[in-house]
Structures are given as C-alpha cells and as structure tokens.
C-alpha cells in the first residue's frame, strides 16, 4: 500500500473524528441488532423448550413385564443418552384408606411438576397431598392427618387439582412411597428428551436395557416439536428481515457520508489523483469504519442478547463466537459496497463541475 494512502487515511480520520465515529456507530447499530437477533434465534429453542417441559414428559420408561425398575438401573438409564434433558422417577401403587383402595403416586419433591395445590406440596417423609376427587370421598382437608395402608399417620399438606386422572390419587415424595411399598425401585422414569432426538434416546435405552420398555408420549412430543419449529422459524424470518432492512439503512448512511464529500473527490482529482487512488482511499476509509463498527457491534449485540434473555427467560444465553467473523465480514461488505457506488458516480463528473458546487 502506498505511503500517501496511509497518511491520507490517518489525517482524514483524525480531522473528522466526529464523522468517522458516526459511520462506525451506524455499522455498530446494524451489526449489533443482527448479532443480538441471531444469538437469541439460536438460543430460543432451548429457552422455550425449557418452558414447554412443564407440559410433562415426552418419554416414559417402564419395566417390560410390568414390574419395578431397580434404583441402580434407573440411574444408569439417565446417563445412557446425552439427549436426555431431564428425568423424574415415579412410584405407583395402591393403598387402603378408610376401606377404599386408593392410587398412590410417589415422585421426587423437587420434580412434582404442575399442580394447583390448595395448601402446599408434600416435602417430608410423612406428608401427602390428596387429589380433589378424593376430597369429598375421604372427607379430607389440608392440615388433617390420614392413615395409609402401612398404619402410619400422614399429614395432608394440600388438596391438589391437575385436571387428569391423577385427581383421584394421593401424591407423596419418592422416599415415602418407596418406604410405604417397601421397595428400592421405581415404577417409571419420565424423561424430557430433546424432541429432535427421541428416536435416538429410545434406541440407546432399549439397546442397553432390553428388559425395559421405552414409550414416546406423543401428546407432548409431537406438540413440542411443532411449536418449537414454528418459533425457531419465526425468529429466523425476523432475523432475515432485520438483516435486509438494516443493511439498506446502513448502506444509505454510508452513501450519504460519501455524497457529502463530493468536493473532496473533485479536489483530489484536480490535484492529479487517479481513479484507483481515489477509490482505494474511500474504500479503505469505509473498511476501517466497517471493521471498527462491526467489532463494537458484535459486543453490543451479545450484550443486548444477554439483556433480552435475562429479562424474558431469567437466564443467560450462550454467545456464539461464529457470529464474530460473520459480523466483521458483513460490516465490511456493506460499508465498502455503499462507498464504492457513490464514489464511482462522483468520478464520472468532471472536477471543475463538482468544485463549482453544482
């Protein structure tokens, strides 16, 4: 590169700090909003997926012959595939209460899922919550105690409503249920797998544990996949719209800043600069602004994406480093392109005409 070019560039940027900053800021804003959107788009599947998980499990593992799954096997199942996002152990059984046979469900206290409880969920060993359909039949209120089949007295911490058959059951912690039925095993493992890899999870589990039966719960699995696909598609389309319109807006800012400098081009030409010299000069300046803007834009974009994610989902989002080179290339291309066209236009006009100010 010629020495004069570097000298010119330095002088030009130093003397017109404000305007150089303005171009960089324009690039930064465009690149920043795109980086933010792209980052959120990539992360939205996980974030919304986490919310949809509350609909319930999308796979269920049981013993093929209808028996129980020993605890150690159950724990091994969890580690058999990396696509298993979450899993809960359940124990099912029946117990006699006031002469009636009542269904008992045991599940881990922290994974009880979505219940409407008048009172609170059971946490300790001797606590239970009772389904709303049993409330009248057993004349039970929250706060009372109830004797189950093992003769122990359990405190009723709440009456729950779920809107399914479970409303006629008693729910307790996994530990209490295992003690009640005197087993060190679980009846079912409810899995939340990545909806795109349910087939793989099924293969992995049934290959390693031929005695277990793996079932896809289609209601959740099919709907989850459908909704996640739609939302991902939505984010993709929005990102593309933003990409398109902010490139045009950015391009016009850059072009406007060149149009403003027509006289400079005329002067350079009058002083004997060649077409290539002038184009090279403006392109390098635009490239410098583009690069500076893209880099700060990437940082700005990632920060905005984090702010959006924390506000909307209460958790951070993983930034993708692949967007850094993408942002730099995009910023460079748009700023250089939007410099080339007006400069070429200006070059067509004779220096005298430009300098006269027409």
């Amino acid at each position: 590169m010629d020495n004069w070019l570097i000298y010119f560039l330095r002088k030009s940027i130093a003397q017109r700090k404000g305007r150089f900053a303005l171009s960089s800021v324009a690039v930064m804003l465009a690149v920043g909003s795109m980086t933010a959107l792209a980052t959120v788009s990539i992360g939205v599947r996980d974030k919304i997926g986490l919310q949809l998980r509350q609909y319930g499990a999308n796979m269920m593992v049981t013993d093929a012959s209808g028996g129980e799954i020993p605890m150690d096997t159950a724990n091994q199942v969890l580690s058999s595939s990396a696509h298993i996002k979450d899993a809960a152990f359940h124990v099912y059984g029946t117990s006699r209460v006031k002469g009636l046979s009542v269904e008992i469900i045991g599940m881990e206290a922290q994974r009880m899922g979505t219940y409407r409880v008048a009172g609170r969920m059971p946490r300790g060993e001797d606590e239970i919550m009772v389904g709303i359909n049993l409330k009248e039949a057993l004349s039970i209120e929250a706060g009372m105690t109830m004797r189950l089949g093992d003769g122990k007295a359990y405190t009723v911490t709440g009456i729950f409503e779920r809107g399914s058959e479970e409303d006629s059951a008693v729910v307790m912690t996994l530990g209490s249920a295992q003690r009640l039925f005197k087993i060190d095993a679980v009846s079912a493992i409810l899995i939340n797998g990545d909806t795109r890899y349910l087939g793989e999870i099924e293969r992995a589990v049934s290959q390693r544990f031929p005695r277990l039966r793996v079932k896809t719960l289609r209601q959740v699995a099919v709907a989850e996949e459908r909704v996640l696909d739609r939302i991902e598609m939505l984010m993709l389309v929005v990102s593309l719209i933003v990409l398109f319109s902010s490139s045009i807006a950015l391009g016009s800012t850059m072009a406007a800043s060149i149009i403003e400098r027509m006289e400079e081009i005329g002067l350079m030409k009058a002083l004997g600069a060649t077409r290539r010299d002038i184009l090279g000069f403006f392109v390098s300046e635009a490239a410098a602004a583009g690069l500076a803007g893209s880099l700060s834009g990437y940082v700005f974009g990632v920060l905005s994406a984090e702010a959006v994610s924390v506000t909307a989902f209460g958790s951070f989002i993983a930034p993708r480093t692949v967007f850094l080179p993408a942002a730099a290339i995009f910023g460079l291309i748009i700023s250089v392109l939007s410099a080339v066209y007006p400069v070429r236009d200006a070059l067509k006009i004779g220096p005298a005409v430009i300098l006269r100010g027409e």
């Binding site: 609909y55 009542v102 409303d167 699995a221 319109s245 016009s252 800012t253 959006v308």
Partner: protein
C-alpha cells in the same frame, strides 16, 4: 420564501434526499412490521399451543364415594353443541366427546369418539367441526377410521398384546369387530379399542350419552386476578373475571346448567398453566427484540440525517449572512426533516403491510393482523427519527459564524 427554499432544496439535491427517505422508510417498515408481530404473537402462538391438547375436560359431577368406583354417570351428547353458545364461544376451537366402556368378561376397554363431525350450533348458520382431529392432533392412525358398526380401531398396545393387525377381528361384548387400523396416541387409548361414538353407543345401549368432553379453548394467560377465588369477588370483579377469557372462567361457563347439565368442567392445569407462561415469555421476548431493533434502526437513520445536514453548514452560514434569523434557519431544516419523515413513514408503513402479511403466512400460515393504530405509530416513529436526527446538526449549525464557515473552516 420558506416554501421556495424547501422546494429548491429538494430539487437540487435529489440524490441525498432520496437516500434519506429510503433510510427512514426502511427503519419505519422494520419497526412497524415488528410491532404488528408483537401485537399479534400471542394470538398466533396460542393457536399453535393448542396442539398440546384439551385444556378443559368436562365430566359428570359426582359426589362422595361415587368419585371412586360406583355407578357410572354420563353427560348428554346433545349438550355438546351448546358449548358454542357460551360468552366465549368463539374461543372454543375444539370439542371431542369420549365414551369409555368395558367388556367385563374379557376386560377389554373401548372408546367411542368423533374423528371429524359437523355439529349444528343453535342459532348459527355454519356448522362447527368437532372431533379428536382438532383436539388431539398427535393421534395417528395406521389404516382407516372405522365406518361400519362392525369395525373398530385397535390401540397400539392392545394390538401388540393380542397380535392384531388391520383386517383381523376381535371379540367385544359378544360381537365380532373387524380391525380397520392401529391407533397410536402414547396415552391410555393405546390400550383400548377405538371407534365411532354412535357405534359404541348403539353397542352398549348408551345412546345419546358420553362420559367426557375434551375442550380445546383459546385462553387469556392466568394472572394474579385470575388466581383469586371467584366466590370472594365483588359483583363488579366477578363480571370482569367472567368476561375475561381465563381458562377458569371458560370452564365455569361450560359447567353452567344451561350448557352441560350435571357436569363439572376442570382445567387441565399442566396444559393451561404452561400455555400462559410460554405466551407471556414469548410476547415479552418479541417486545424486547422489537424495542431493541427499533432503537437501533432509529439511531442508524438519525446518523444518516446528521450526515445529510452537516454537509450543508455553508448553506446555513449563507442564510445567516444574508440576514436570516435563527427561527427562519431552523424552520427550513425542520420542515425538510418533517417532509422526509412523513414521506419515509408512509412508504415504510406500506412496506410493513407487505412484510407482515408475508411473515405471518410463512410462519403461521395466516397473515398477521395489521392493526390500524400502526399508521399513526409508524408516522410517529419516522418523525421522531428524523427530527431527533436533525436536532443536533441544526443546533450546531446555529452556532456557526458565517464568515468562518464561508471561508471553509469548521
């Protein structure tokens, strides 16, 4: 004088003016499209979320010991169409009746339902399509839906257990039924035979009776107000609660004696509650992104405006030198900015119409609702963008000393 100046200014600098209008139009189009998305996202996604199935189940009201075991009770099939007469009738998007019966001898259970059935709504001209297809879209049939009384589907699990496949026959309540296909649902229906409601009613002598009705309704997410017990509300509060599409108020309207008599309608909480949470989060996300993109594009467009006015420092100096006061100078530039803003705003609004229709079709299969309020909003956005973009350079221009500027210094 002012008019001539502005007219000349536009005529003499077509290119920079076009660039500015384009940039304002793009910024406005983007903002208006994203706003129309933000306004409509809840509606669109809540329709998608209906693929998670019924959010209200209506069943016969039973009390005391009858809740577990005891005599089976039924709802009236004729009450189903009345669900489309409640206050929130337009929010009811799916209705699927279920009649569960059991052959005590063989222990085989059978379910009667509708696949797709046109039902007549009282005082409505167009019939409503009810059936499991719209409520349980995950049900998949390998084979065909039974049409004759002697036909049935077999659930995947029972088919495997009894080694049934399409064409085989199965004995149910002393009748020989031909299996027309295998139904996979992943739920308890996998253990049952499933057939047309009429057939099951006729077979068991339960004409006109159903045991449950699954309702799929578009609902307003639950909030603190909705969580309150309606019994503790004042009359005014109750009215507000009743007229808001909460899952609880829709359920309440369904169990009215004039709709499903002798019934209790219960929200399916995992579905109802998750739906509200997902919708709230997603709308928040779209609003935040819209805000972010609007402010970024507004600043970007302002940058274009700043550049456009900066280049006219000399012009300002000249105006001042020939005796224009601050107000005159400002009004020329402000009027220009406003013209650019309005032109860009109108073009941008028109563009956003196209964009939001396409966006809606592409993602959700139906255009986004383009609210009328978007026109004033877009004009407001575009004017705000251009005037704020013009503000800084105009202020600077006013400080210019004519002699210095005209000499070529800054």
């Amino acid at each position: 004088m002012l008019l001539t100046l502005i007219k000349k200014s536009f005529m003499n600098q077509k290119k920079p003016m076009t660039v500015m209008v384009v940039s304002v139009a793009m910024g406005t189009a983007l903002s208006a499209s994203l706003l129309s998305l933000a306004f409509d996202i809840s509606n669109k996604v809540s329709k998608e979320l209906r693929s998670f199935g019924a959010n209200i189940i209506v069943q016969p009201r039973v009390s005391g010991l009858a809740a577990i075991g005891g005599q089976a009770r039924y709802l009236r099939e004729s009450d189903i169409s009345k669900a489309k007469t409640i206050f929130w009738r337009h929010n009811i998007v799916g209705l699927a009746p279920m009649l569960a019966v059991r052959d005590e001898e063989s222990g085989i259970a059978m379910l009667g339902t509708w696949r797709r059935k046109e039902i007549r709504i009282p005082e409505e001209k167009t019939p409503f399509i009810a059936g499991f297809e719209s409520v349980m879209p995950w049900w998949s049939i390998d084979g065909r839906w039974p049409e004759k009384r002697t036909e049935t589907l077999a659930g995947a699990a029972i088919a495997e257990r009894l080694r049934l496949s399409a064409g085989d026959s199965v004995l149910f309540m002393g009748r020989r039924l031909t299996v027309t296909g295998i139904l996979s649902t992943g739920g308890k229906e996998d253990e049952m035979l499933v057939s047309e409601l009429d057939h099951v009613q006729a077979m068991t002598g339960l004409e006109g009776k159903v045991s449950q009705v699954f309702v799929s309704a578009l609902t307003t997410p639950m909030d603190d107000f909705a969580d309150r017990d309606p019994k503790t509300m004042t009359e005014k509060e109750y009215e507000k609660w009743y007229c808001t599409g909460y899952v609880t108020s829709i359920a309440k309207q369904l169990e009215d004696e004039r709709v499903f008599s002798g019934a209790v309608a219960r929200p399916v909480w995992p579905v109802a509650e998750t739906e509200g949470k997902v919708l709230n989060r997603l709308s928040l996300l779209i609003y935040l992104l819209t805000g972010l993109v609007i402010s970024a594009s507004a600043l970007g467009v302002s940058a274009t405006m700043i550049v456009g006015i900066l280049r006219r420092t000399e012009e300002v100096a000249l105006m001042k030198a020939v005796g224009a006061d601050s107000i005159k100078t400002v009004s020329v530039f402000l009027a220009e900015a406003m013209i650019i803003g309005l032109a860009g705003g109108v073009i941008g609004y028109a563009l956003s119409h196209l964009v939001s229709a396409r966006l809606g079709m592409l993602v959700f299969g139906s255009a986004l609702e383009h609210k009328a309020v978007l026109l004033p909003l877009s004009l407001l956005v575009s004017l705000a963008i251009t005037i704020s973009g013009a503000y800084l350079p105009i202020r600077r221009a006013l400080l210019i000393k004519p002699a210095v500027a005209l000499k070529g210094g800054e």
